[in-house]
Structure formats: structure tokens, C-alpha cells
């Protein structure tokens, strides 16, 4: 090649030969790398879902976390239903309760148990007529006739019952209805229904009558149980239930205890039979999902889905706030210790070492034990001030977590700063005369953020775990508030019977921790300076 084959470029072109690429800040670069990591993205999505779950969930749920419906306690998310009549379905709970449901799994109401045959394991339930009364129709209906001494009469409802024994057993019969009784036209004199021989008529009536002159009425007042039921019913704005006779639902559990060989022919596979209006069902009609309580209910009839949502709020709130507190204390402590160096650093790290020498969880347990009962008060100038009130609220848990786990962050930050403070850009800043605070906040901490953020992302699941742990051993938030740990603890006793009660909070904890762990691992990889170009 000869000289003439080459063309000299001008000086400007030479200087311009430095190529520039699209301007990316450090964090944009990190995000780009994070996006490529599938697991980390799954984690991130998981975290977002869980946070939304906790924040928005309680807004959209029709239940409050403390709403109790005792009739609907301990219901699973999926259950078997029996189609007893055209549009009528029932569900038999493990506690031998019968609930009326729809074909889609919505719960309607409880059907009362009227008596049980313990020997043959047959339970009798009777459907009820609902009679809606205005509140002020509760009046004094003085009987217009003389009633027999055996009759039990309610001046509130204007009905009299008498019991008698016949070949079939004991029955109760309506012997009188007052012309103005609200049940006029609904019931008829002569209506009767079976009862057990040892049952009290007034109990069966489930009606209150404190004003009756009948001697039986004084028995009602003494019977605490029925009064409580009556009060509860009355509290429902005048809706009363009156049990009338047939038809009733008969549930036979006796086959459960028999060997298949002992069961009658055709019933070898049968465990439960349900009989209604003469029709016998030997197997369930369907298994449906619980449409009223998507995740079932707990032992007090509270919706588990709602409680897990509120639990998310509590657990995540504790975790985030505690992490932020740890972050603040840890960074301040660690950066002062690392930057000052020398004797100051030595002393501060000795303190950290002493704190660190026993399992930190022990401290937290100890603190919680103390804080839940502590009240620090002082009487100044005759006035009484409460400086600090403990208890089992979120505040105390956050305080306990925040005052112990900062040591990890402090150690980390100190290590980072020790390494960074000899970097030339820090020396340059010192040469310029930048103040110590500005050096720490502008130069040191931002460049240490990588490991700090990873550490924080890993602190969150750790805090969730610790809070669950505390709640599990009884040191968490107090009832009826629930964190996941408390939910798990409550569910523990019924584990083998109602496993779902434990499953959902446990799954929530597990998913949360997995999501944060994946995200944290991904962040650690994305922030690794070795991978960073130039």
C-alpha cells in the first residue's frame, strides 16, 4: 500500500473518535440486568402481588377481620353438599352441624339440631319458618281462654303448647293461638311436632316471655342458655325463629363406625345417609367451593381470606417499618464507626460484638415479654404522665425488632465504608474540603447502596419470619387482630381436622419469603460490581 492510499483525518475527527453510547445511570443499568433474571422477576411480581393483596384486599372484602359468625365456624374452602329437595342443599360439618347452602356453595343459614340419638348416631334437624316481626308487635297477649295446667303459654307471642306422649314418642302440640297473635294464620291449633322426652317446651319454643304468669316462665329466666340464645336472636331486630314440626332432616352417621361387612346390603360404601321428606340420599351430590368464605372460616367463624389479608398488612407493615428503622440506625452507626476509624471504631464495634454474641432472637423475645406489660409513668408536679405504654401492638413489635437487628446492617455498612473511604474520589473530596457529613452522604453511602439494598431486601422476609415466630409463641399482636403467625398459632390445635386453617397463613408466609428471597438474590447479582462494565 502506498502513502497515497491513505487519507489523513483532521485533528477534530481524531478527538471525536470516542464513541458515546446511550446515557444510562447506574440504576438503569442495574434494572436492565435484573430484568434478565427470571427468578428475580418472579420474585418481584410476587412481592408486588403480596403488597397489593395486603393493601387493597381488605378494602374489597365484605368482611372485617373481627366479624364473627359462630354458626359458620370452622368451615372449609371446599365441601360436600347433599341435594335434599329441588332447590335445597345442605352441608354437614365435621362438628355435626347442618347448614343450608345453594348449589354454588353459598351459605344460607344454619338448620337447628333438635335432638340426637346418641346410640344410633342419628341427628335430627328441623327446618325453620322465619317469621319477621316489627319490633313493637311484641306485646302482651292475655289468653282469652283458660288453659290447662300443663300448657306453657307465652304472652309475648300468644301461643300455648302442651306436650303429650304417644306410641311414637313425645310430641308437643299447639293448643291455643291468640286471635291477635302474629302467628295467626301462620300456624294452626293442632300443629304438633316430635320432641325428646327430656326436653322442655319452653326451650323448644325459643321464645322469651318475662311477663308470663305461667309458672314455667320462671324456669326460662333461670335457664341461662336459652336466655342467651333468645337475646341473641332478639338483637337481630325482631327476627324470630319458631320451630315447627315436620318436615325434618335426619342425618345418620352410624355407618361410619361399622365395618363394610357389617353394613346392610347396598350400604357397603356408605358412611352417611341423609333423609328428608322420606327420600334417602346415600351419597353426596356435589363438591363445591365455599362461595361465601373463599378460604373457609376459623374457629370463631371469621373469614380466613380476610384475616390473611389483614395479616398481610400487619406482617408486611412490621417488616417494612422494622427494616427501615434498622436501615436508619444501622447506616448511621456503621458509617460513623467506619469513617472515624481508630479508637471510636474499635469501641463501637466492641459494643456490636457484645450484642451479637447471643442469638438476637433471644433479645427480641425478652424485649417483647417486658414490653407487653410495661408502663413507664411518672408523676411530675402532681400530674400523671405516661411516658411509655407497652402492650402487644404493632408499635412494640417494631420497637423490639428495630432495637436489635440493626447490628447486622451496621456491620455491613462499616465494612463497606472502610473499603470505600480510601478510594480516590473520596480523597479528592477531602482534598477539596468537603465536610464529613457530605462525604458520607454523597460519596460513601450511595456507593455502598448495592450491598445495603440487598441486605434490606433480605431483612424483610427475616422480619416477617421473626414476627410470625413471635406470634406463634404467643408474643405477637393481640386478638382479634391477626398476623400470619397468630393465625398459624390458632390453627395449630385443629391441625388434623381443619388443615386449611393453617395452610393459608403458612402458604402466605412461604410465598412472601420465597418472593423476597428470589428478588434479593437477583438484586445481589444485578448489583455485583464485577459484572458491571467499566
Amino acid at each position: 500500500m502506498a502513502n497515497k492510499d491513505f487519507e489523513f483525518i483532521s485533528r477534530e475527527e481524531k478527538l471525536d473518535s470516542e464513541q458515546t453510547r446511550r446515557s444510562l445511570t447506574y440504576w438503569q443499568d442495574v434494572w436492565r440486568r435484573l430484568k434478565k433474571n427470571r427468578l428475580a422477576m418472579i420474585g418481584l411480581i410476587g412481592v408486588i402481588i403480596i403488597v397489593l393483596f395486603g393493601i387493597l384486599g381488605p378494602i374489597f372484602t365484605p368482611y372485617k377481620y373481627s366479624d364473627q359468625v359462630l354458626d359458620f365456624s370452622n368451615l372449609p374452602p371446599r365441601f360436600d353438599i347433599y341435594n335434599i329437595a329441588d332447590d335445597e342443599y345442605i352441608f354437614l360439618t365435621k362438628e355435626y352441624r347442618v347448614l343450608e347452602t345453594t348449589s354454588k356453595g353459598e351459605l344460607i343459614s344454619r338448620i337447628d339440631n333438635i335432638h340426637k340419638d346418641q346410640v344410633n348416631k342419628i341427628y335430627y334437624f328441623a327446618k325453620e319458618y322465619e317469621v319477621t316481626l316489627e319490633a313493637n308487635t311484641v306485646g302482651n297477649y292475655t289468653p282469652t281462654e283458660t288453659l290447662g295446667a300443663n300448657a306453657v303459654y307465652s304472652t309475648k307471642w300468644g301461643i300455648a303448647l302442651e306436650d303429650s306422649t304417644n306410641a311414637a314418642g313425645v310430641i308437643a302440640q299447639i293448643v291455643y293461638i291468640h286471635p291477635n297473635s302474629p302467628f295467626q294464620g301462620v300456624l294452626m291449633e293442632g300443629d304438633s311436632f316430635d320432641i325428646q322426652s327430656n326436653q322442655n317446651l319452653t326451650e323448644i319454643m325459643l321464645l322469651a316471655d318475662p311477663n308470663s304468669t305461667s309458672s314455667a316462665s320462671t324456669l326460662i329466666e333461670g335457664r341461662m342458655g336459652s336466655q342467651a340464645v333468645i337475646d341473641a336472636l332478639e338483637a337481630n331486630n325482631g327476627v324470630e325463629y319458631f320451630v315447627v314440626g315436620d318436615p325434618q332432616i335426619e342425618v345418620n352417621f352410624s355407618y361410619k363406625l361399622m365395618d363394610p361387612e357389617d353394613r346392610p346390603a347396598g350400604y357397603e360404601d356408605v358412611l352417611i345417609t341423609v333423609t328428608y321428606e322420606g327420600k334417602e340420599l346415600t351419597e353426596k351430590s356435589d363438591t363445591v367451593s365455599n362461595s361465601t368464605y373463599l378460604w373457609g372460616t376459623d374457629s370463631l367463624g371469621r373469614d380466613i381470606l380476610t384475616r390473611v389479608m389483614y395479616g398481610a398488612r400487619i406482617s408486611l407493615a412490621v417488616a417494612f417499618v422494622a427494616t427501615i428503622v434498622n436501615f436508619i440506625i444501622g447506616i448511621t452507626y456503621g458509617s460513623i464507626s467506619g469513617y472515624k476509624g481508630g479508637g471510636v471504631d474499635n469501641f463501637m464495634m466492641r459494643v456490636v460484638d457484645i450484642i451479637n454474641s447471643i442469638p438476637l432472637t433471644l433479645y427480641v423475645i425478652l424485649l417483647m415479654v417486658v414490653l407487653r406489660d410495661v408502663v413507664i409513668d411518672v408523676t411530675l408536679f402532681g400530674r400523671y404522665f405516661v411516658i411509655f405504654k407497652g402492650g402487644s401492638g404493632l408499635g412494640t413489635i417494631i420497637f423490639a425488632l428495630g432495637s436489635v437487628y440493626w447490628v447486622g446492617m451496621a456491620r455491613l455498612v462499616r465494612g463497606q465504608i472502610l473499603g470505600l473511604k480510601e478510594q480516590e474520589y473520596v480523597l479528592a473530596a477531602r482534598t477539596i474540603g468537603v465536610s464529613t457529613t457530605k462525604i458520607i452522604t454523597r460519596h460513601l453511602v450511595p456507593n455502598a447502596m448495592g450491598p445495603i439494598i440487598v441486605s434490606m431486601t433480605m431483612m424483610i422476609p427475616s422480619a416477617v419470619f421473626t414476627e410470625a415466630f413471635l406470634s406463634f409463641i404467643g408474643l405477637g399482636v393481640s386478638a382479634p387482630q391477626a398476623s400470619w403467625g397468630t393465625l398459624a398459632n390458632d390453627a395449630l390445635s385443629g391441625l388434623t381436622t381443619y388443615p386449611y386453617q393453617l395452610f393459608f397463613p403458612a402458604a402466605a408466609i412461604a410465598v412472601t419469603m420465597l418472593a423476597f428471597n428470589f428478588l434479593g438474590d437477583g438484586l445481589r447479582d444485578a448489583l455485583d460490581p464485577r459484572l458491571r462494565k467499566g
Partner: protein
């Protein structure tokens, strides 16, 4: 600079500067171990000149630069800048002086905070010293100054909002220079500013530094280990070895008439890109190990590797016995057992009575030991010729022949 140095008052006077680092081990050790990074160094820098400071790695030149700007607190000595001894100024009072002395660092990849934009980096000094605070529109003045600085170092306005990682090494170094210039200093310490750059860029940067010096009347302390580059840019040069100055002279004088053995060895190691170089083959190779800078023994630091620190003890000379005269001296050769090749005595090791007797038993007539004062007295930096200082006991009679 052709001014007579002796009459002008120096901008910076370093007097008996010492910086020791405490490397003592453990809480209860009795013996304190000090790393003598700078051990009694004195020199002056005059306004407008470039003073080069050279030496091999670990000789303390970078530490000197950093101690001058008080990134390290001096253990002893004075740093007199414009009449004020900075060594006595407390950190909280240092701010006004920090404006006058700035520093350019070696590693372009570590000297800029990757999280800050170029504007922020350059503006930091301006903000800290509140330079434009009394102007009607400080922000505008600041921004204009930043653009001005960028352009003067060969960058563009568009670069102002970019991040360091988007620039090459050479460009980053220029940003560092712009940062140093932003506060309008009088003295700039250049700590190996071009060592990490490509050779073609090195020349550009050095030229730029020289231009700035002319335009703004700057004074430089140029720390480096590349001798050919230092000669080009420096007016005077100081040669350091293990925390002490070995020689100080103008750069021409140093290169043509080096006095100190160490300087001579350094200069001979500069590769000459000339295949017909008449001096080929005359490279001085230094033998021996670099001694440890921790708790150094008295004597010339360079003695253990110096060609001229040898003298011979003859068996048949002197009044005392051979053994008596050998005992306590420093051996300057390594002696192995003729048959077993076992090590008897290593070079620079003290000859004990036992070893002396052994040497005697071998029947040797002479033995090379260390010269009298080299290993026992530390030489002072004295003015051997006009404006030419060297630290060596035998500077006028190196090879002992009296020349």
C-alpha cells in the same frame, strides 16, 4: 524557569517532614512497629515551577503528595505554604488552604464518583468554597464556569450531564483536572496522573497541563515513576528512595550529570528507542533486596543495593586479626559452603563471630564488606554542586579512587 532559586521565596517549603504509620501488632505487644513512609524529607517548590518527584513503588512519593494536602496528618516536620505551616493547622481550619492546593489522582477509574454527573463532580469544589455566592446569579455563573472548564480540558458542553462510566480513561482524567482547576488553586499535586493512561493520551494530557501552567501561573508537584516523562515536564526533580530524598537537581542537570548511585541506576534503566544506541549494554542492574520500611536501621537506605557501598577487608592488613576486623561488619557478598552449598552468610547480613571464624577457616585472603559509614550513619542531603543536592557519604569519591 531560569530565575535564581536562592533569592526567590518558595511557595511551598517542606522541612524535615516525617510520616510514620503505626503497624504495631496486637494490643499488648511491647515493640512498636512503625512504617517510615516519609523519613525526614526536605525540599522547596517555587512559584510557577514544576517539581518532579520520582522513585520506585513504595518509596513514599505518593504519601508525600497526600501528606502535603493533609490527607494524612504529618508525624513531624513542617509544611509551610505561603508562610503558614499547614502541619499546625487543625482540620477544621483547613478549608481556605484547601482551595489553594489541589490534587490530581492516578486512577481515572477510581478518582471520580460513579454516581455523580460530570457537572456535580466539577461543581463540588465550587459549592464547597462558595465561589460564586456573591454573584447576582450564582447558579448561572457556576454553570458557565463548568462549561468553560470542560471546554478548556477538551471536552464538550454535552458531556456535562453524563456519568463517568460513559467516558474513556483519558477523558476521565481530564474531568479530574477540570475538577482541580475549578477552585482556582495555586499549587496542584499531580499524583502519577498519566501512569494509567495509554501512551498516546499521556502526551496530550501532559501538554494540556503545561498549557494550563503557562496560562494560569500554576505550580506543580509532579509525582511519577516514568523518568522520561518527568524530565520533559519538570524544572527540578527530586529522587526518593524508601522515604528519603537521595538527590535533588534541575532536570537537565540530573539527567546529564547524576551524582547519586541510585539516580544513576534509575537513569540507566530508561529504554532508549534507538537500535544504534552507543550505551547499549551499560545498564546498571541493582542487586539485592529492597529493605523493609518498617523500623529501619540506621545508615543509608540505599546501601544494601549500592555498588559503591563495598569495601574489602584483607587478611593481611590492619592491626587486629582478620576475624576481629570482620566481626560486626556487614557482608556484601553471599557466601555458600564450597561443597554442601549451604548458606553461610547472605549479602547485607551482619557477620557474627562464628561466621567470621568460618570465613577465616576457609582460608580466604579477603572478604567484601560494607563500607564504613554506609551502614551506620544516615547521610544528609547536602548541596554538592550549585543547586544540586545528593545524600551520600562518599558522593565525591564513589568508587573509592579519590575522583
Amino acid at each position: 524557569m531560569s530565575e535564581s532559586y536562592n533569592t526567590q521565596k518558595p511557595l511551598l517549603e517542606i522541612k524535615n517532614l516525617k510520616k510514620y504509620f503505626d503497624k504495631s501488632r496486637g494490643l499488648f505487644s511491647k515493640e512498636k512497629r512503625f512504617l517510615t513512609a516519609i523519613d525526614d524529607v526536605s525540599f522547596n517548590i517555587y512559584k510557577g515551577e514544576t517539581f518532579g518527584l520520582v522513585g520506585e513503588s513504595g518509596c513514599g512519593k505518593s504519601t508525600t503528595g497526600r501528606t502535603i494536602v493533609k490527607l494524612y496528618e504529618p508525624t513531624a516536620g513542617s509544611i509551610i505554604f505561603d508562610g503558614v505551616d499547614l502541619a499546625t493547622v487543625k482540620e477544621k481550619d483547613m478549608l481556605p488552604y484547601r482551595r489553594k492546593i489541589q490534587m490530581i489522582f492516578q486512577d481515572p477509574y477510581a478518582s471520580l464518583n460513579g454516581r455523580m454527573t460530570v457537572t456535580d463532580i466539577i461543581a463540588e469544589g465550587i459549592d464547597t468554597h462558595k465561589i460564586f455566592d456573591d454573584m447576582p446569579d450564582p447558579n448561572k455563573a457556576k454553570q458557565e464556569r463548568i462549561y468553560e472548564l470542560l471546554e478548556s480540558v477538551g471536552l464538550k458542553k454535552e458531556h456535562a450531564n453524563r456519568y463517568p462510566h460513559e467516558f474513556s480513561g483519558g477523558q476521565r482524567q481530564r474531568i479530574g483536572i477540570a475538577r482541580a482547576l475549578a477552585v482556582d488553586p495555586e499549587l496542584i499535586i499531580c499524583d502519577e496522573p498519566i501512569s494509567a493512561l495509554d501512551v498516546s493520551i499521556q502526551a496530550q494530557v501532559v501538554n494540556m497541563l503545561e498549557d494550563f501552567q503557562k496560562e494560569r501561573g500554576l505550580t506543580y508537584l509532579f509525582i511519577a515513576h516514568d523518568l522520561s516523562m518527568v524530565k520533559h515536564i519538570s524544572d527540578r526533580i527530586g529522587v526518593m528512595y524508601l522515604g528519603k530524598l537521595m538527590e535533588v537537581a534541575t532536570s537537565d542537570e540530573l539527567y546529564e550529570y547524576p551524582l547519586h548511585p541510585y539516580t544513576k541506576a534509575l537513569l540507566s534503566s530508561i529504554p532508549v528507542p534507538d537500535p544504534n544506541n552507543p550505551n547499549k549494554g551499560s545498564r546498571i542492574v541493582l542487586e539485592g533486596d529492597v529493605p523493609s520500611p518498617i523500623n529501619p536501621k540506621p545508615g543509608c537506605r540505599f546501601a544494601s543495593r549500592c555498588e559503591y557501598s563495598k569495601s574489602v577487608v584483607y587478611r593481611n592488613e590492619g592491626s587486629k586479626s582478620f576475624v576481629d576486623r570482620l566481626e560486626g561488619r556487614i557482608a556484601r557478598v553471599t557466601l555458600l559452603h564450597p561443597e554442601t552449598n549451604e548458606l553461610i552468610v547472605k549479602s547485607n547480613q551482619v557477620i557474627t563471630r562464628e561466621i567470621a571464624e568460618y570465613i577465616d577457616s576457609l582460608g580466604k585472603d579477603e572478604f567484601v564488606v560494607g563500607r564504613d559509614r554506609c551502614f551506620s550513619e544516615t547521610p544528609e542531603l547536602i548541596e554538592v554542586k550549585k543547586e544540586h543536592f545528593a545524600a551520600c557519604h562518599y558522593i565525591n569519591d564513589l568508587d573509592g579512587t579519590g575522583k
